[in-house]
């Protein structure tokens, strides 16, 4: 254990400690968010990545080593015991049969990367992968997850090594407040595999034609990502990030901005 919080007792004190740490983290993210635009102009992508890396690594460490807070037994009705793997780690928890996977991840396993946006399947903020396929944790009963392999945003990076999709989101400024981002990234990572498998979408021109893999146009990316809403409207940058990972062709985000406007009118 390297983060110095491994000796906390489970229970209220540990929870308070977690909250305090999370607040510090949020403060950092907030400050970072405000100055991010200035940063982009001045700092090379690598330098920026390093700063974000630090935060991501800290958040990750916090999540994995947090004691599992136990709910008061009074609130657990119809308990079920579920064993599954989360980001490669075996977990076995007893919980109320009503508990969704999203609440189990966030409230029982302290993996707060997956976000609760609408809690009704409409926004995609809770997107995780089960057995490699993207699904919505808010409409998944944990009780139905026995033996499944779950991957959350926390499981995409390896230590300080970000997943290429994470790097691309940072490079292309694919977020503003960041609330939808874990879901966007999980969704986009699964999308890369779906395209490799030749899976179709409603905008694919000829569904009868055999396809080994699918080359995603921007329209295809938009259609296939339509289950992930972004209140901040970072859509163009999200598409740019996904396009870069999908094509393997690096593009310069600054070059895509219109630097001069000719004959402007209001």
């Amino acid at each position: 254990m390297t983060n110095g919080i491994d000796d906390r007792e489970p229970g209220t004190e540990a929870e308070l400690q977690l909250q305090a740490d999370e607040e510090i983290l949020l403060d950092e993210l907030g400050i970072f968010g405000e100055s991010r635009r200035k940063f982009l102009g001045k700092v090379a992508a690598a330098g920026l990545g390093a700063l974000v890396l630090e935060i991501v690594a800290e958040q990750k460490a916090l999540a994995f080593d947090a004691a599992e807070p136990s709910l008061s037994p009074l609130t657990v009705e119809n308990p079920v015991t579920v064993s599954f793997s989360v980001n490669g780690m075996k977990k076995s928890i007893e919980l109320d049969s009503r508990m969704t996977l999203l609440d189990a991840l966030r409230e029982r396993l302290a993996l707060t990367g997956s976000k609760k946006g609408c809690d009704h399947g409409q926004c995609g903020a809770c997107t995780v992968m089960i057995d490699g396929r993207r699904v919505l944790a808010c409409l998944t009963l944990t009780a139905q997850c026995e033996g499944r392999e779950i991957t959350t945003i926390e499981g995409l990076s390896h230590g300080a090594d970000l997943h290429p999709m994470q790097t691309a989101f940072i490079k292309h400024d694919g977020f503003q407040c960041g609330f939808c981002t874990p879901g966007q990234i999980c969704s986009a990572v699964a999308l890369m595999q779906e395209a490799k498998n030749g899976e179709l979408s409603y905008v694919t021109a000829d569904v009868r034609q055999k396809t080994a893999t699918i080359k995603l146009s921007d329209d295809e990316i938009r259609e296939r990502m339509s289950g992930n809403l972004c209140r901040c409207g970072a859509y163009p940058n999200i598409v740019a990030a996904i396009r870069e990972v999908h094509t393997g062709k690096a593009t310069d985000p600054m070059a895509e901005l219109p630097l001069e406007v000719e004959n402007a009118s209001v």
Partner: protein, 329 residues
């Protein structure tokens, strides 16, 4: 959400028995509709019988057509090579619905058994005959832009939201179910969903405890000339205002047979029999498509806010038929 007992199951017969034994029990498959409704307090089963691990996921060709497992996922069904080749309109219909994440969770049985998205059905503080029989229908006097123009009653005007069902209706599918007595029966797709009449609380003709095991689609020659068109408020991730599944069998420049079904216009997938009949033997021209659409839509009865669906429906039928004729599937 009301507390419920969670009952895993590994055999269809055992699952049927468990639900049959408890009048408040329900099957849960992908959960994408049921969990949502349970969170809203619209459904409140005392027991959920988990059917998601039943071995009913096969998609295979049969001597008469294709058999699609009720527990196969929507995404796997849409992408299956046999479905793509022989029933591309079904592939398109499934892919037009919901989102990639939801289609990865949703099952075929759950899709055709999903409940309406009528906002009054979803709002527990107002009257709704589907949710609380006898309480009254708020949509008839309320905001009914998204409601039926065909097949509704003075008790309910909600539409069936399933895209997949519209294609299945056009393709003359049938539904295999396993009953509580261990016997199986076959329900023709057109008889699967119900019109509301005086019992809008019943969406379909399944008895309590009956399990959908598979959906069968008969062989046909529609594959090269079929199209599923969906029109919604957004290009993606929205329920249909109007949708059209259109399929043509062409022979020597003439329409041998046409199949047309509509979504978003009725409490069940709406087969446009009048339009189909009109087109038989005719040439596939825009004039004929337009006349066929008129012949169907003249029977529509608009509510206060959904009159636009009549013109939209006409245009959608014509466009879907044009794309089908051009071989756009």
């Amino acid at each position: 959400m009301r507390a419920f007992k969670f009952t895993p199951s590994s055999e269809p017969e055992a699952a049927v028995k468990a639900v049959k034994a408890n009048s408040e029990a329900k099957f849960i498959a992908g959960g994408t509709n049921l969990i949502d409704l349970m969170k809203e307090g619209i459904e409140g089963p005392s027991e959920l019988v988990d059917i998601s691990r039943l071995n009913l996921t096969q998609i295979r060709s049969t001597s008469t057509g294709i058999s699609i497992g009720s527990l196969a996922k929507n995404s796997d069904t849409a992408n299956h090579p046999l479905v793509r080749r022989d029933f591309p309109m079904l592939t398109q219909a499934i892919l037009s619905g919901a989102t990639a994440q939801i289609r990865n969770m949703a099952t075929n049985g759950g899709n055709i058994a999903q409940r309406t998205r009528c906002p009054y059905f979803y709002e527990v503080s107002v009257n709704c005959n589907k949710r609380r029989p006898g309480s009254g229908c708020s949509s008839l006097e309320g905001y009914n832009r998204n409601h039926s123009i065909f097949g509704f009653s003075d008790k309910c005007a909600a539409v069936n939201p399933s895209d997949m069902s519209v294609a299945l209706a056009a393709l003359d599918a049938s539904v295999n179910v396993l009953g509580a007595d261990g016997k199986t029966r076959v329900i023709k797709f057109n008889d699967f969903h119900r019109l509301p009449g005086d019992t809008p609380q019943r969406d379909n003709n399944l008895e309590h405890g009956e399990l959908i095991t598979s959906i069968e689609i008969p062989k046909s020659n529609f594959a090269p000339h079929s199209y599923y068109l969906k029109v919604g408020d957004r290009a993606s991730h929205s329920f249909a205002l109007v949708s059209v599944a259109a399929a043509l069998e062409l022979d020597g420049g003439k329409i041998k047979q046409a199949r047309i079904a509509m979504g978003g216009v009725a409490p069940k997938p709406w087969r446009a029999y009048a339009a189909e009949k009109f087109l038989a033997g005719k040439t596939p021209s825009e004039e004929n498509f337009s006349a066929a659409a008129d012949s169907e839509m003249k029977a529509a009865i608009p509510l206060e806010h959904n009159g636009f669906k009549i013109e939209l429906g006409k245009r959608a039928i014509v466009l879907a038929l044009k794309r089908a004729a051009a071989g756009n599937a």
